[in-house]
Symmetry: C2
Subunit: 132 residues, 2 copies
């Protein structure tokens, strides 16, 4: 994607970012599209995808993935994720203190670290006990 492009602050992009920031369910592009249509009835799914890519490029959102679909996250402060292997939900994990990462050694080996995510996998509290 072009880096030094003069971006226009469009209504569509503002609505998409607002929708994403209003939820913690890490929605798919399609979910965001359905929500956006309630505000801009003739918005296009392509517009949703394009703007999600731009927002990610600008560091305003994160892209996760589910295995088969991309999911998006309006939170960009350091936090982690739990992926339920039963219902496929993704939860935010806020207990920063549970994880201690020291990556000086990696940097010495030449890795430039921009970010990191910890993704737990298992059964979520809702599914726990009533699995199919």
């Amino acid at each position: 994607m072009e880096k030094n492009i003069k971006r226009r602050n469009t209504h569509q992009r503002k609505v998409i970012l607002e929708i994403l920031r209003s939820t913690d369910i890490h929605p798919t592009a399609d979910w965001i599209y359905e929500r956006a249509r309630q505000v801009i009835p003739n918005i296009s799914l392509g517009t949703v995808y394009r703007n999600l890519k731009i927002l990610k490029d600008e560091g305003l959102i994160l892209e996760l993935n589910d295995g088969k679909q991309s999911r998006f996250d309006g939170r960009i402060d350091q936090h982690f994720h739990f992926k339920c292997i039963n219902c496929n939900s993704i939860y935010d994990i806020d207990n920063k203190q549970i994880i201690n990462v020291e990556y000086n050694d990696l940097q010495k080996e030449g890795y430039q670290i921009r970010s990191f995510d910890v993704i737990f996998s298992g059964i979520c509290p809702k599914c726990n006990g009533n699995q199919n």
Copy 2:
């Protein structure tokens, strides 16, 4: 997928697992397919996908994802990953000592943790210095 199915130990599945265990590049299904064709010329891509799913289901391999494609990992001992945002390579990170995860609190909240991965994102040593 059926759980109590009587599995047959096919030549195709053995070859696929062998190929995956022989590399550390976390290949895509298509890469594995090309390699497998050198051993079984008329193997089908569908067979590769089906067996990768079975092997994952049996806990013999891991599935990572790259954003748009699945990547597979023949290593199942605890280790972490580094994803280069420049060349898209995924590297294994072995320094277990750099990461300390304590998830008792999560378990108390009802999360059943089966596994976790730490994914660093940034520029790899090879790309460091000669980015495009």
